[in-house]
């Protein structure tokens, strides 16, 4: 023991140690150099603790997940940041909105870049969320015990579509105006409550200032809040459902029954043990079980960082190369001819050009109900964790049929429709 230091010296020490102490009060662990510290770093850091300390090797295989869920989330983060920045210059007014778009282009530093990032990020999110949904389907990952997380995922997909729909109305250009007109009219075809929904969305009987304000509030407050909550549930359920799905043979089957009966406790199902009963003797299999997990630090975190950097770079490159389109200012008297939605809604637009109810409400509604019901109708536990497993030939074939049908509708709508929505050939 050293003799007590005088108060003055200890104060000086406190001053000199201030940076170190502040740092240590925030980060309790040094950069990890052993397994204990790797664990501590994962579960004492707020941002890391939603991860497991150890993660299964299968979850880190890029060929299995393609990183699509992560990319979706990072695109959402990019959209939140760029969206908040854009809000500093945007006014949801029919007389100002379009001018503000021109201001963003002409007089705001990085205005064009931020709007491009927001637009391409949104398009990317629609595409990647859909691909993520396809990945989960083709690997049979919606099966028990992940049924409910699949339902949350389908809801997230719909929210993503609604986010992008409310978003591209805000510039108040021709696309915006006619998209609101058509979109709210489709809602009006819903049975019983359709007209009320249409009236609530438009805030009146015609598309104007009230409708713009309502879609703005939905886009910047209501939907992001709901989306954030749904994402939180989605992530939490991944942990609670045992991590990402994997094939049954990804883990070795370990039997505890072969344990010598003299010391080790034998675990029987549905029998309660006190803690003492569990720790009395070492399980002889401990240490012999092949461990297919690795520490999240650094394996998972580096993979996530890599995915984020690639995602952000891709959006940046796209935004530097291509400008987000801005159509003519609203002309409520004359729709552009043809008046086309963005590519991801062109399948829908093609369908409503046959029948407003069946194309806009009936068929999409049935498709969503089928998606939501999938894990409760397909109760077989076979074929989980493998892409295009032969055990899931029927389910995958049905799903591919739906996807291809929608892609065909998108292609027809994009390339084969001309003035007055007449059939044209693109060559």
């Amino acid at each position: 023991m050293s003799p007590a230091t005088p108060p003055k010296a200890s104060f000086l020490t406190a001053l000199t140690d201030l940076p170190k102490n502040v740092w240590k009060s925030i980060f309790r662990n040094p950069l990890p150099s052993n397994d204990l510290e790797r664990s501590s770093t994962s579960f004492t850091n707020f941002f890391l603790h939603i991860h497991p300390v150890k993660v299964h090797k299968n979850s880190l295989r890029p060929a299995y997940t393609l990183g699509l869920g992560l990319i979706s989330f990072f695109l959402f983060v990019i959209l939140i940041v760029t969206g908040i920045l854009l809000m500093f210059y945007y006014v949801p007014s029919t007389t100002q909105a379009y001018d503000r778009m021109l201001d963003l282009r002409g007089s705001v530093a990085f205005g064009t870049l931020l709007r491009n990032m927001h637009r391409w990020g949104a398009h990317g999110m629609v595409a990647v969320v859909f691909m993520h949904l396809c990945r989960v389907f083709f690997t049979g990952s919606y099966k028990k015990p992940r049924e409910f997380n699949w339902v949350v995922g389908v809801i997230l997909f719909l929210l993503t579509l609604f986010m992008s729909f409310t978003g591209y109305l805000l510039p108040w250009d021709q696309l915006a105006f006619w998209a609101i007109t058509v979109g709210t009219a489709i809602a009006g075809y819903a049975p019983v409550i359709g007209k009320d929904i249409q009236f609530l969305l438009m805030g009146g009987t015609s598309v104007g200032q009230e409708a713009l304000l309502r879609f703005y509030v939905l886009h910047v407050a209501v939907l992001p809040a709901v989306l954030t909550l749904a994402i939180a549930i989605h992530f939490w359920r991944i942990r609670k459902d045992g991590g990402l799905s994997r094939a049954e043979d990804a883990d070795p089957v370990v039997s505890l029954e072969a344990a010598p009966a003299d010391k080790a406790s034998v675990l029987e199902p549905k029998k309660l043990y006190g803690f003492q009963g569990l720790v009395r003797g070492p399980l002889p299999k401990v240490g012999q079980i092949p461990d297919n997990t690795v520490f999240s630090w650094p394996n998972l975190f580096l993979a996530e960082l890599f995915t984020f950097v690639v995602t952000l770079s891709a959006i940046l490159v796209l935004s530097l190369l291509f400008n987000a389109p801005l159509e003519e200012p609203v002309n409520a008297l004359h729709p552009p001819n043809p008046a086309k939605a963005p590519w991801y809604f062109l399948g829908l637009q093609e369908m409503v050009s046959y029948s407003a109810f069946w194309g806009g409400i009936g068929v999409p509604g049935i498709f969503v109900l089928l998606l939501l019901g999938t894990p409760y109708m397909d109760r077989s536990t076979k074929g989980v964790g493998k892409w295009f497993s032969r055990d899931r030939l029927l389910a995958n074939t049905i799903f591919i049929t739906f996807v291809v049908a929608n892609i065909i509708f998108v292609i027809i709508g994009t390339f084969f429709r001309g003035a007055n929505w007449a059939f044209v050939t693109p060559w």
Partner: protein, 163 residues
């Protein structure tokens, strides 16, 4: 220390009757759920506007002399097309009955640029997804000699105003 894991059955020890505790639980739950429901309803009442701003539905469009015989004048701002044949006058809506786009004049009548609905000169559907013909609006001659159109009143297609 024993932990009671038995679920309460809702019956008191005599059996058969709903206990006071259970009853109070039901009442509390019903009260909370009712309050939440009322709040949700009042929120919907709040966001449903009582008064709306919009174009007047009844307006005059000028004197009959402005529309010589054979005219098919699209008044886009009013959302109507004034048709005059001889002494007969009519106002046909140019809002597509499919999904609300504004139809344009075409050789055979009207055509919609959004989803390809087609109408003949009288607004009858000749093609595309439109479920109904274009409505005709009531058209009258005001005392000051101007043509007055009321978009709140639809009339039977083909009924003209005779001057």
């Amino acid at each position: 220390m024993a932990v009671n894991l038995k679920r309460s059955s809702g019956e008191d020890s005599d059996g058969g009757k709903t206990s006071r505790r259970r009853m109070l639980g039901w009442l509390t739950g019903a009260g909370l759920a009712g309050s939440a429901g009322l709040s949700a309803v009042s929120n919907f009442v709040f966001i449903k506007p009582r008064a709306t701003y919009g174009q007047p539905q009844r307006f005059s469009v000028g004197k009959p002399e402005d529309f010589p015989s054979g005219t098919r004048a699209i008044l886009a701002a009013r959302g109507i097309c004034i048709v005059r044949e001889g002494t007969k006058l009519a106002a046909i809506s140019i809002t597509c009955t499919h999904l609300g786009c504004t139809v344009g004049a075409a050789d055979t009548g009207f055509a919609c640029p959004c989803h390809g609905s087609r109408f003949d000169q009288d607004g009858n559907v000749t093609g595309g997804p439109a479920p109904r013909p274009l409505p005709w609006f009531q058209i009258t001659l005001a005392p000051n000699g101007e043509i007055e159109v009321d978009k709140d009143i639809e009339i039977v297609p083909g009924s003209y105003l005779s001057l």
